[in-house]
Symmetry: C2
Subunit: 392 residues, 2 copies
């Protein structure tokens, strides 16, 4: 074999340089992300300066608008996100979601997600852990108590994004034990409803306080799933529920607005049930009941310390309690309820349900509305719902 010609080698180098420039974005001097594409440089301090080169100007504008007192504080917080849709590697079937990109097929889901996120915002520190939290060994590993940026402190919040009961119960147990505030989230098997729930051990219901059917009857979850059938999933529903989760995370961490204790989403009719969820004193979860006792003692202590002349303010410090806005609850159809129960969502039908508004009898030519005075009461208790589900 003869030596390669210098001209051929130089031509090959020019070709490769061209391909590499194309792959990386032509003529860019930006640092490369791990995908080999140019990303932006890290930014040491968040600025509110209105210049094109500042990616934070529109978030920092929230301060000037009077929405958030101190947006920079976001940099001090640590959030543990549990679950990116099951342990495993990224498959094409996951590619209907923006999180995973085709060239990442075969990577572990946590690594693929971390790489995508790091390329979007290099200022965030990502730490990945890839294991099953539901086995006993791994549960010991599931340490959220040391994850803070401040040495030895717990994380500021846990976000549950898992897709099964067992994992939710593992997170619930860990958070009750540690007194860790967390958000639970989920989308139904038919992809057209979802919810988020805010859980403060002792103060709000834990995940076991109002147990869904599968957990309550100790049925093996796997026996409920149909063989060879995959659940539906809609990026729109997932995006909206994820939006609710992150928006309420921002409200909780940055202390603006009101955090919703339970917020549901029914995509078919754009209905959003919202309600406070109180803890169950007879909850099966040992640490939940202990946390409830501690919380009640704390409330009693605070009340005792109040000056006698002051009006009685119970739960004075519960910033994120009930909302001052209207809440309306209406029944879902039976199919939806059953799908919801099977996929681990809190049943959204409770006792004492009203329609807040009836359609006016005649079409009106303007945009003004006159609600009917007679609200129709939908009677369906949680007990009845449980009976219906058990008979299925």
């Amino acid at each position: 074999m003869s030596n390669p010609d210098v001209g051929q080698l130089q031509s090959r180098i020019a070709d490769l340089e061209g391909l590499l420039a194309a792959a990386q974005g032509t003529g860019s001097s930006l640092p490369l992300t791990d995908a080999g594409l140019p990303g932006r440089a890290k930014i040491a301090a968040m600025s509110s300066e209105v210049v094109d080169s500042n990616p934070y100007s529109r978030l920092m504008a929230l301060k000037r608008m009077g929405i958030v007192d101190n947006y920079e504080k976001i940099r001090d917080y640590t959030v543990a996100v549990v679950g990116v849709g099951g342990v495993g590697s990224v498959e094409l079937a996951n590619m209907n979601r923006l999180f995973f990109q085709p060239h990442q097929a075969g990577l572990s889901k946590v690594d693929a997600a971390a790489k995508t996120l790091a390329s979007i915002n290099p200022d965030v520190i990502f730490e990945t852990h890839n294991y099953n939290i539901t086995t006993v060994d791994h549960f010991d590993h599931f340490i959220i108590s040391q994850g803070s940026l401040v040495e030895g402190q717990p994380v500021d919040l846990v976000l549950s994004c898992v897709d099964n009961f067992e994992a939710r119960m593992a997170i619930n147990k860990a958070c009750n034990e540690l007194g860790q505030t967390w958000f639970e989230s989920g989308v139904s098997e038919n992809a057209v409803s979802g919810h988020i729930q805010f859980l403060v051990p002792g103060e709000t219901a834990c995940f076991a306080c109002a147990p869904p059917l599968v957990v309550a009857s100790n049925i093996d979850e796997k026996t409920l799933k149909r063989e060879g059938v995959c659940a539906a999933s809609l990026p729109t529903t997932m995006g909206i529920v994820a939006g609710f989760l992150v928006q309420n995370t921002l409200k909780y961490l940055l202390k603006f607005g009101e955090v919703s204790q339970y917020l549901g989403y029914n995509a078919m009719v754009d209905f959003f049930p919202k309600m406070p969820v109180r803890p169950n004193p007879e909850c099966d979860e040992y640490h939940c009941v202990q946390r409830q006792k501690t919380y009640q003692q704390e409330l009693a202590r605070r009340k005792a310390e109040e000056p006698e002349v002051a009006p009685v303010l119970v739960e004075e410090d519960v910033v994120h309690g009930d909302n001052s806005w209207g809440i309306s609850l209406v029944s879902e159809d039976a199919e939806e309820t059953s799908a919801t129960a099977m996929s681990g969502e809190t049943p959204e039908v409770v006792e004492g349900v009203y329609r807040a508004y009836e359609r006016p009898k005649e079409a009106k030519p303007t945009t003004e509305l006159e609600p009917s005075d007679a609200a129709s009461k939908v009677e369906q208790s949680l007990d009845e719902l449980m009976k219906q589900m058990q008979s299925l």
Copy 2:
């Protein structure tokens, strides 16, 4: 200068091949996207087969779940998306949104968006047009009447994602003239509220039917904007409003669920006002009034054709009319209302507003709720609101 050494050239080639492989994802045989990364191959027909290599299995599962009759139909539709946040090139300040990636800085926004989207789903055909729709010349160009996949037919839907009144009014005029169904969307200047609106010329209110303050008083929008101040923007709020827009687009095109005529989002308290929006017979927009007349004639014709024994069904074919669910409307705070009005959102406070639910006096140990019978009426008419805004 001496000739380069063959060994050096070969070493350089090996380095470049390594860098290129890293930039493109190692050892992949997938087709390259325009960013030089491996994408997935096009898929000729959508399949519901549950295999890891099928990115459509979880969307097609919506058929088996009884949600959507024919998901494949999505491939026949053409949607015109107007606006990706202002004409211009992509700047770092846009990078707080997932749509634009750091290596795209300097591209036009429509091209950057199209490239990102094409790399996510190569099965969608993207056609980009980059111009200002509000100038007369460009308005003539703004042809949505020939955009269908079927030669000579109009697009199936127009989505307005523009950020100013002038552009909304241009789209409104074009759609009224063409009888084109469209969705309008927007996020407030303070980034914590937003809305979508469904507009069917003649059947629902057009964008000029209930004119917001700026349009009504013919004020130049630019004089309302403060110098050197940029509006706040939150990816969460934008993501949720975009989710509502696309979810309702899917419901409209694939004929499932109910399309919301007006759906608002208040992030501070997770409140979602929803209402039908009827056309104004005295609307200033010439084609809107013409469309209303045609629609009323059509309704009358249908009514006349009904068999005499049948019950009177007015608007029989209006699939996406009012919903059968509760609707509750409550007032927003004054600041929010004013920001909303300035950024072009329909005022969400209307006459006759009730609280559907009052917080129970005592905390309950379970998750069951008992709504109070006494609903407090919030009295604030649209007229009062307009007066308040005019006095600002």
